[in-house]
Symmetry: C2
Subunit: 214 residues, 2 copies
């Protein structure tokens, strides 16, 4: 099903986030994310910066180092999504993303640089949680994000480790003898949910299971 | 930043996937996911079915039991995304999603039901990987998905465990003395990336780190 990652494109317009004016991107963020979250707005500049620093050619996947906000900037602005697996989350808690060539591992990592935040005190307060959410001035924060743009970010070339390059074969499917649902046979004689520890709700008799077939 | 999950809506039109005709939804899937993947198409019917079985009122988050395809159906059709955290992935490998009231934990789980696949052999072949991708008849598969609709799914009421209800406070932020980036102070004296084991690329001297400030 996977046919291609994202292709490199150049943008010479520093005022834009990819093809979008700041306010147009903010509207997309509100629609997809539910609010004009500071993290997704900054993430837009980070994605834009990464695109412009990619080496020529190639197909790129993305790694986000946080699950909070940043993945939505990637999903809004690139063909990479969680569901098509071109976007991966490796949660180190850092506000950073890496675009990498899925064949060679060569890529660029863009991160929110604490050393560049002093000229933008409201961004610094937000990023380092120096003020409470209640004390945060949302309008000032958004204005500072608009003015700062990519100037609060830094870029480094990186080489992604081979474990991220080779698409893992999921292998054969089995039907779990316990829940009767399909799962990856390599996970064992019964599925991980029935084995316990993963289920998002109590298993067995504690689950209210009214049979309601559609 | 989080203001609301998704609100319950009713749909009496069984031919549609939420507000969309099958082909219109397929176009959305192609745009967001990159291809009209069978899993995202079936996921559309699963999301639609879940919506119609939700209890009245409430704000709902979603858990997907696989990272493959299904999360994109949720992200296309609901306000829930990975980045706003209203969509969570608990990877049991099963093709199932759970919509649950984030205050009470009451919810519905929709799953692709192996016991209902016999009338749709191409869906069964795809789901259980009984044929190779090369031997898969993509047109026939999509037609069977269109015809089967929600009839290959089952629904159960579930009670999500309390660990998914209480929003975890991330706590204070620290600047890592090693990489100088912000991270969750609760993770220790240095960030998880510098502690090792999580980084998507080799750490230390093996990383090609040309300093290229924007």
């Amino acid at each position: 099903m996977k046919t291609a990652g994202l292709n490199r494109e150049e943008s010479s317009d520093m005022q834009k986030i990819r093809a979008y004016a700041f306010d147009d991107y903010a509207a997309l963020v509100r629609s997809f994310h539910g609010s004009v979250a500071p993290g997704v707005m900054i993430g837009g500049f980070m994605v834009d910066l990464a695109y412009r620093r990619l080496p020529s050619g190639g197909l790129f996947d993305v790694i986000c180092e946080t699950a909070k906000c940043l993945p939505d900037a990637v999903q809004i602005l690139t063909p990479c999504s969680i569901g098509n697996r071109w976007l991966k989350i490796v949660d180190t808690g850092r506000y950073a993303l890496t675009f990498y060539d899925k064949r060679t591992g060569a890529g660029v990592r863009v991160y929110l640089d604490c050393a560049k935040l002093d000229p933008w005190p409201e961004i610094k307060n937000w990023h380092l949680k120096l003020t409470s959410k209640e004390a945060q001035d949302d309008d000032l924060l958004l204005n500072q994000i608009r003015e700062a743009g990519e100037n609060i970010c830094s870029v480094k070339e990186v080489q992604v480790s081979p474990t991220f390059l080779n698409k893992k074969k999921a292998g054969p499917i089995a039907v779990c003898p316990s829940c009767k649902e399909a799962y990856h046979a390599a996970d064992g004689a019964i599925c991980p949910a029935c084995r316990g520890g993963l289920l998002p709700y109590p298993s067995g008799s504690r689950v209210r299971r009214k049979s309601r077939t559609p």
